[in-house]
Amino acid sequence: MTTTGPSTTSPTSAEGRAPATVIARGGASPPLLLVIIVVVLGASAGLSAQTADLEAGRRKAEPCGRCHGADGNATLVAMPSLAGQPAWFTHWALIKFRDGRRKDPVMSPFAASLSDADMADLAAYYAAQPPRRRQQIVDAAKAEAGKELATLHHCTSCHRPDLSGQNQVPRVAGQDLEYLLKLLRAYKAQTAGDLEGLMTQAAQPLTDADIENLAHFMAILPAAPPSP
């Protein structure tokens, strides 16, 4: 078992930092460890082409930044990154928090105060933010085992072959490991809000080890934005 978590050297904000560095270590001694330390430049070309909705979304996202990162690239463990998520995904997730299909001590009360327009603005804002790879320690052996599982369990059917997501389906590539574990376990336990029941169904055959391996595989992938 490899303990996972953010690197202790991780900066709290990635803004204006050095370009990506990947340090891989391991191969000789089990458990195989791949330590990824990634700091990507806030590579945004700026929000020059922003619409009023995006600007409204940026303002409305200010309280969200504490957990999810100002630009939706979260750095706290178990907090999902929202940058580059398909707008429909973020919007549906907020709807589910508001109507109670998905429950969270922080998100449920927050979503309860949001209007439909707030949700649309927030979703559009986060969709427009370039996602960055998270700094986290991922077990390469588990990730390797998870790669096959992602095909076997048809994750790629809805999340796309690179797991970058589409429409209401989230990008899971490069997402926070602990968050992925938490959500997959909740789907297995049938306690996670599920728009059409597909994830709850998909998670039923997964063993604890499968969930670990899949989460490590998803976490290790580059956090590419959804292709058009």
């Binding site: 429909w88 919007h91 549906w92 709807i95 589910k96 508001r98 109507d99 109670g100 299909r101 439909d116 949700m119 649309a120 979703a123 085992a145 096959e148 599982l149 076997l152 369990h153 048809h154 059917s157 809805c158 589409q166 429409n167 209401q168 728009l195 059409e196 029941g197 597909l198 169904q201 998909a202 055959p205």
Partner: protein
């Protein structure tokens, strides 16, 4: 002795280590997501997938109703917008329109305020509460797990009472978003669809069933029904007619979705053995014949997705429209070129084959969605309300000579 034992242990450990990854690589195949089930391997790279539901309703001004073609004298307009994922509709006694939804999880009440429609969410967070029926002051809602009853609802739109749970449906969720229809026998009719694209269903699924208004007296009405989301009772004969969605991934032009007539309970309509009344399934139809089953009344077209299915009982439309069956067709996803995206009508006359013709079309332009006609309800004056679960709107189709 000790030496041998140790050697054995080492060998056993080595064997386990060697087999470990191998055993993992040989995990049995896992079921794909429901929409993909039954897709042949040679279509693995098919881009076809269900049309995703937007999280935002489209404002009326952005809906292109001007693109919809209707027979002479008919006119379409947006009657109400802002009803995310609007599906089945039912009128309350005091003029409230109740509207169900699927993925939105909401039930709505639309109230007319001097020509402006106010939309209230009266229930939220339900599991695909598609079916709505109003009877004696109460709203009946069918979501996937339960049949619910909201009593004295029209007096409590701003503070809806907690519903009574009248009936618990079987667990399987896929194809179990339900229509509700009030029968001439005073019973509530609903579908329990096949929890798959093509499979041998559990005994509890692939049927149309009914219960009494208090949730008792469950009975199967029709068997071998893959996925029906619309039904009505003939205004004269009072017999049940329903539409049904055929299987996916068997080709662009096969099988047809179908219209069925169930003059009595207990008939089997063929699925999964026989499709569209004339072709046995290559996997499940072995040794079976289509002649064993009640044939469809009409083939409606492949993948056209019939939803709202209602007889015309009003007096506003031209006289020949009386008792015609209107079928709102939400439109295809499992087809290279879009088909459906229209409202069709069927004339049923004793001794004659059904006459099938277009009523409203133009809800797609090539492969672009203009709208998705979903359910039908009649206004008191005989005009039509047509919901669109893609735009979250309700259209009004009226007629002037």
């Amino acid at each position: 002795m000790l030496r041998i034992t140790l050697t054995s242990v080492v060998a056993a450990v080595a064997l386990v280590l060697a087999l470990g990854p191998l055993a993992e690589a040989q995990q049995p195949p896992q079921p794909p997501p429901a929409w993909q089930q039954g897709r042949p391997p040679d279509m693995a790279n098919s881009p076809l997938a269900p049309v995703a539901a937007p999280p935002t309703p489209t404002p009326a001004a952005q809906i292109q109703v001007n693109k919809i073609k209707l027979p002479p004298g008919f006119k379409i307009s947006v009657w109400a917008d802002g009803i995310l994922n609007a599906r089945q509709m039912a009128w309350g006694d005091k003029g409230t329109l109740f509207v169900g939804s699927r993925v939105a999880g909401n039930v709505y009440a639309v109230v007319d305020r001097g020509g402006r429609r106010e939309v209230k969410v009266i229930a939220k967070g339900l599991v695909m509460p598609n079916g709505v029926v109003f009877k004696d002051g109460a709203l009946y809602v069918a979501d996937i797990p339960r049949l619910l009853k909201y009593e004295n609802i029209e007096a409590n739109l701003d503070n809806p009472p907690a519903p009574k749970e009248l009936y618990t449906f079987p667990k399987e969720a896929h194809h179990n978003w339900r229509f509700l229809a009030l029968g001439p026998d005073g019973k509530l009719y609903f579908n329990m669809g096949a929890p798959c694209n093509i499979c041998m269903p559990p005994d509890t699924h692939a049927n149309i069933s009914r219960v009494n208004l208090d949730g008792t007296g469950f009975e199967y009405v029709a068997h071998g029904v893959r996925n029906s989301v619309g039904a009505d009772f003939h205004p004269v004969t009072k017999e049940l007619y329903f539409t049904n969605h055929g299987r996916d991934w068997a080709g662009d032009d096969f099988p047809n979705d179908t219209l069925h007539h169930a003059p009595r309970k207990g008939l089997h309509f063929g699925w999964p053995y026989c499709h569209q009344g004339d072709t046995v399934d290559p996997d499940f139809g072995q040794g079976r014949s289509c002649s064993e089953f009640a044939p469809p009344l009409l083939k409606l077209g492949p993948h056209i997705a019939p939803v709202g299915t209602r007889f015309y009982t009003g007096n506003l439309f031209p006289p020949e429209y009386k008792n015609r069956l209107f079928i709102a067709q939400k439109g295809s996803w499992n087809r290279t070129q879009k088909l459906g995206y229209r409202v069709m009508m069927v004339e049923l006359k004793v001794g004659q084959p059904p006459k099938y013709e277009v009523f409203a079309e133009g809800f797609h332009e090539g492969n672009n969605v203009v709208g998705r006609p979903t359910y039908i309800e009649w206004m008191r004056d005989g005009s039509m309300l047509l919901s669109d679960d893609y735009h979250g709107a309700i259209y009004h189709i009226t007629y002037q000579r």
